[in-house]
Amino acid sequence: MTAARTQQRLARILALLPWALANPYPTVTEVMERFGYTSRRQLADDLNLLFCCGLPGYGPGDLMVAYIDGDEVVLDMADYFSRPLRLTPHEALGLLSAGLAVAGTSQGNEALARAVEKLTDALFPEAATVIAAELPPEPGHLDTLRRAARDGTVLTITYLSMSTNRTTVRAIEPLMVHASMGSWYLRAHCRLAGDRRLFRVDRIRAVEEQGETFEPAAKPPAATNMDYTPSADAIYARIALGSGARWVAEYYPVEILEDTGEELVIRFAMSDARVGARLLLRLGAQARLIEGREVRDETERLREAILARYEVSRT
């Protein structure tokens, strides 16, 4: 058994013990549901393990009594485990911030609001003022996308691409929605691209049902972080960042090549030269492109195209 699985098993057993002692003879079903056992066998294994544990001497009078009797779980001779464990600060904060954040979304409900209030009152009366957590505001189509992912509904979306600012219409099979770094994202199988794609929900202009369904995954895919991982055909540029542009190195996954004190030299990877071009235009005099022909060309093209709208042309 791996260390992580051992920890998980131990955590569950140590949580089950005080609860089962305070609520004697619970049903097998209730214990399984509450503590997330996926099979009766798994629960029986844990009880068998407890049956071999207890106090030194380890004779019949020292070991715990733990077994399944018909529909009931019997746990006895373990009074020393009757006190529930406290939450660690990290756990308490996680619980509280999860409650606070979700309560502020459309997924929140009255029960959650009450739970958060009780938790705050019981554990840390001051927490309500000094802790806050929020998720990004929910774009209009979020609920439709969430339901489509759950029910396996094929959708047609009108999407304004992040990289090109061009609109496309595509059929997709939504997998899950995910809030990260201030935005909501949709992970979906895109039939136009024939591959999995990530869409920013606020850039989806319209959603229509196709009247077609797909088989949703038994489990939603694990949400990975939204960091960009360069693919084989990525474009690279070497950029020197002045003091006002150093944040770029923290915000984007870049490789730091050199820090002269005055300038930070980075290697910036992108899927589309326009990403680098926009960044350079944004940074203005704060950054300098050292190397990267595609990015240089695109920056010049984009600069002149925008300036033309301001009726300024190259002199």
Partner: protein, 307 residues
């Protein structure tokens, strides 16, 4: 041969049941699972076991076994146990479990334990395909939380300089945790810090080390961020029809005020600083700032700066 889990349960049972501190030597000779080990092997195993328990929030402490303090032994102190019962109903526990589930799938794998400790919960709808990243992976979060609630000082490195900080509140927003506080020698200036930029964070000193300014709360952190402070001004931006809808949604206070001959939409967009230029640059040549003239000029300057 007993498993790790059995050994840890036996160890805990013995410590919790014992009326007085138990020496390591006694544990070694008494608790099932530590038999027949060399000094070194026992030591290693015992240290690992203590670490496993610590990870679950069970902190073993050492106390003298008698008044003469000749011998020291281990205890499981009271502080490891819940003293207050939040009194959650099953429905409330399930609601919390769903919230935790959502946040877990966004990256907080150890999150399940906290609900188990509160008595578990029936999860009815775990296949809800929604995830949210609350940045709960950071190891420093528990420390900052303690510092804020207990009003304890922290020591950390921030922007290349070691600092002692009195922290007042913390806030998660847009994927980041912020905390606010002061350096004791500049107690009038409340500053905002980003948790992911704080290094080698540790708690120092006793609880209740400083007062929290009356009425100061987590919501104040945002208003102290520089871009949240100023009164917004109005700008007019002409957008191509393809992107106008997005700009209108992107700025909740924006509104369409006109149509151009070319079919573009003129939007009135409030702004507080130059960061509006960044957003407009991301629209490529699909948008142009019409007013105010200073903002328009700033845009041209910005674009020409790199020529």
């Amino acid at each position: 041969m007993s498993t790790v889990v059995e050994r840890l349960i036996n160890l805990l049972a013995y410590l919790v049941d014992s009326p007085r501190p138990v020496t390591a030597e006694r544990i070694r000779n008494t608790v099932a699972g530590y038999e027949n080990l060399s000094d070194q092997a026992f030591h290693r195993k015992f240290e690992r076991d203590k670490a496993s328990l610590r990870e679950l929030g069970i902190e073993l402490e050492q106390e003298a076994t008698d008044a003469w303090e000749v011998e020291w032994g281990y205890v499981v102190p009271e502080s490891n146990y819940r003293t207050i019962e939040p009194g959650l109903t099953d429905e409330e526990r399930t609601a919390l479990a769903l919230a935790v589930h959502m946040v877990r799938s966004g990256g907080w794998p150890s999150g399940a334990n906290c609900l188990l400790k509160l008595g578990g919960a029936r999860l009815t709808d775990t296949d809800t395909p929604v995830g949210a990243d609350l940045g709960l992976g950071s190891q420093h979060l528990g420390l900052i939380f303690q510092a804020v609630l207990e009003r304890r000082r922290i020591l950390c490195g921030y922007r290349g300089r070691p600092r002692t900080l009195c922290t007042y509140a913390m806030h998660h927003r847009r994927g980041r945790w912020y905390f606010a506080g002061v350096e004791p020698e500049q107690a009038d200036t409340i500053r905002t810090y980003r948790l992911d930029r704080a290094e080698q964070l540790e708690l120092v000193g006793e609880p209740d080390a400083f007062p929290r300014p009356e009425g100061y709360g987590a919501r104040d952190i945002l208003s102290s961020l520089p871009w949240e402070q100023r009164e917004p001004q109005r700008s007019l931006i002409e957008c191509d029809p393809e992107i106008a809808w997005w700009v209108e949604n992107r700025f909740p206070d924006a509104r369409a005020v006109g149509i151009t001959e070319a079919g573009g939409t003129i939007l009135e967009v409030p702004f507080v600083n130059d960061s509006l230029l960044d957003t407009v640059i991301h629209l490529d040549d699909g948008a142009v700032i019409l007013e105010p003239p200073e903002l328009r000029a700033a845009m041209v300057r910005r674009l020409e700066a790199g020529r």
